[in-house]
Amino acid sequence: MLQLSQVSKLFFPGTADEKIALMGIDLTLNAGDFVTVIGSNGAGKSTLMNVISGVMTPDAGQVRIEGSVIHHLPEYRRSCWIGRVFQDPMAGTAPHMTIEENLAMAYARGKSRGLQFGVTSKKRVFFQQQLKRLDIGLENRLRAKVGQLSGGERQALSLLMATFTEPQILLLDEHTAALDPARAELITRLTDSIVREMKLTTLMVTHNMEQAIRLGNRLIMMDKGRIILDVNEQRKKELTVELLLREFEQISGHKLADDRIVFGGLNVTLRDN
């Protein structure tokens, strides 16, 4: 369970560039919730992720996971609860190390790292089993360097590395945005099946409206550092992209402006502000 209460974050406080990144965010994810997050540029989606994962500390408010207060802990210590996939397919893996070594490092998440061998024959069998779930042939390339994989393969591996140790919270930060449509679809499908199968509590930021509606059991919309819309499972089933856009305009009083937003399968970009 993830709980944010009255979380706020300012950028450049006290200067001319002062900007509200998050303001009084209250958000509770129950165990097994899969929440998608959408919003304009600068709505605070990434900051929300960063405040939870520990890249930033909030200026005010509390972040709790499974009851423990965590917002003062450094990033590396929060990792025992949190699995993460980044937008950049290069960010989640170490390119000059092999697939099995990368998996071994992910396997050690939340454990103390000592002088036992990272890859053992027992772990190798387990890694192979896990890689089979991706169904892209990586199980036969355990000793290949990750740098030789394509962006889509690397992101699939990152997704597996973030999830196969069953973290309490899974954070997905636009993890399909940097991929071409076919690969993005593969990763979306894998995400859906893995999260469902392992019943992971998940927070996913996305620019793809259709994806945000299709995946998960709850949808929140952010604007100017606040959560302006929270759609529950019941209402989410009836949601369409048009309805969502209209709702956004009504609540926020301006159009959803995001230069990278994706409506459904088509890459339509909005250029008006």
């Binding site: 994962s53 450094p74 990033e75 590396y76 210590r77 990792s79 025992c80 949190i82 993460r84 980044f86 290069m90 960010a91 989640g92 893996t93 170490a94 390119p95 000059h96 190390m97 092999t98 070594e101 071994a104 490092m105 992910a106 050690a108 998440r109 939340g110 454990k111 790292r113 000592g114 002088l115 036992q116 061998f117 990272g118 890859v119 590395m161």
Partner: protein
């Protein structure tokens, strides 16, 4: 000729520990660590003092490793906790170590003449080199094994993708400190062995050591490749030997002075650093030219076909 070759291989093996240390910081952590110039002398100085006071050379080597590791830890702390630029923290430590090394040694030069050093007094060069080689290979294999442990993987990932390994719970500050520490431990051990082999320690024996280390690592990589950790560390060891052979050959050229060596070493490193990137961009340009021609080829043929 054969004698100088033997000498080169022996020196190369002893300096190989230093180039393994440089490999850890320069290649694994991607951290150009200038502490090496100071910690090499720290190792030599500690060994010289301990041996002249009657301690066993083995214990002296161990203490040298500890001294170097402590110096490296300081550099790591300056860089991670003090947030000082990597190059500058190394330079600061190198300068600080000059004074510390003088304090350790008491005088700028300590001779081990008259003291009995069991290992290096084996008169037969072949046997001596074999024994040294076994010792160096043992340390190389230990390092290989360490780099495959959970902690070793985290160390390697710190240089490869720090953000990723942090997201999996490794404290990258600690892995950086550990890596620099281990590196300088090996460098100091190398200094201790060189002191035992040459029979003296000198306050300026570390001058330019980092460049020699870099040259060894780069030469080794160019000749022997870096397919995986095993080959990368092997390349560092063999590169050190090749470097010493090059030096021995260079010294046989009449119009070269011993003091020209540092210039030659610097030139080797410069060439080795510039050449691969120039080669890469040249190759890339060729490949893109070729691919463009290939991709353009079929369409032009099609248009020819359409005319008929």
């Amino acid at each position: 000729m054969l004698n100088s070759l033997y000498g080169a291989v022996e020196l190369g093996l002893l300096y190989a520990l230093m180039s393994l240390g440089v490999y850890i910081t320069f290649r694994i952590l991607d951290f150009p660590d200038l502490t090496v110039d100071g910690s090499f002398v720290t190792g030599g100085g500690i060994a010289a003092i301990m041996i002249t006071q009657g301690y066993s050379p083995f214990l002296a080597g161990l203490a040298a490793f500890g001294g170097g590791a402590a110096a490296g830890a300081c550099t790591g702390l300056l860089h991670t906790k003090g947030k000082i630029n990597g190059l500058l923290s190394g330079i600061l430590m190198m300068i600080a170590l000059y004074s510390i090394n003088m304090r350790i040694m008491g005088t700028p030069n300590i001779s081990l003449l008259g003291t009995d050093i069991p290992f290096f007094s084996i008169s037969q060069a072949g046997t001596r080199i074999l024994l040294i080689a076994i010792g160096v290979i043992l340390i190389k294999l230990l390092l290989d094994a360490f780099l495959h442990t959970d902690l070793g993987l985290a160390l390697r990932a710190t240089g490869d993708n720090a953000r990723m390994i942090r997201s999996f719970g490794a404290n990258t500050d600690n892995t950086i400190i550990l890596g620099i520490s281990l590196s300088n431990g090996l460098v100091a051990l190398s200094g201790a062995l060189i002191t035992q082999q040459s029979g003296f320690a000198d306050i300026s024996m570390g001058l330019g050591m980092i460049v020699i280390g870099l040259a060894s690592v780069i030469i080794g990589e160019a000749i022997f490749g870096t397919r995986n950790v095993f080959f990368a560390t092997l390349a560092a060891v063999l590169g050190s030997i090749v470097y010493r052979i090059i030096v021995a050959l260079a010294l046989r050229i009449e119009w070269l002075n011993t003091s020209d060596l540092k210039l030659i070493t610097a030139l080797i490193v410069i060439v080795a650093l510039v050449l691969p990137s120039a080669q890469r961009s040249w190759r890339l340009r060729n490949v893109s030219k070729k691919r463009t021609a290939e991709l353009a080829g079929p369409t032009s043929q099609q248009s020819v076909g359409g005319e008929r």
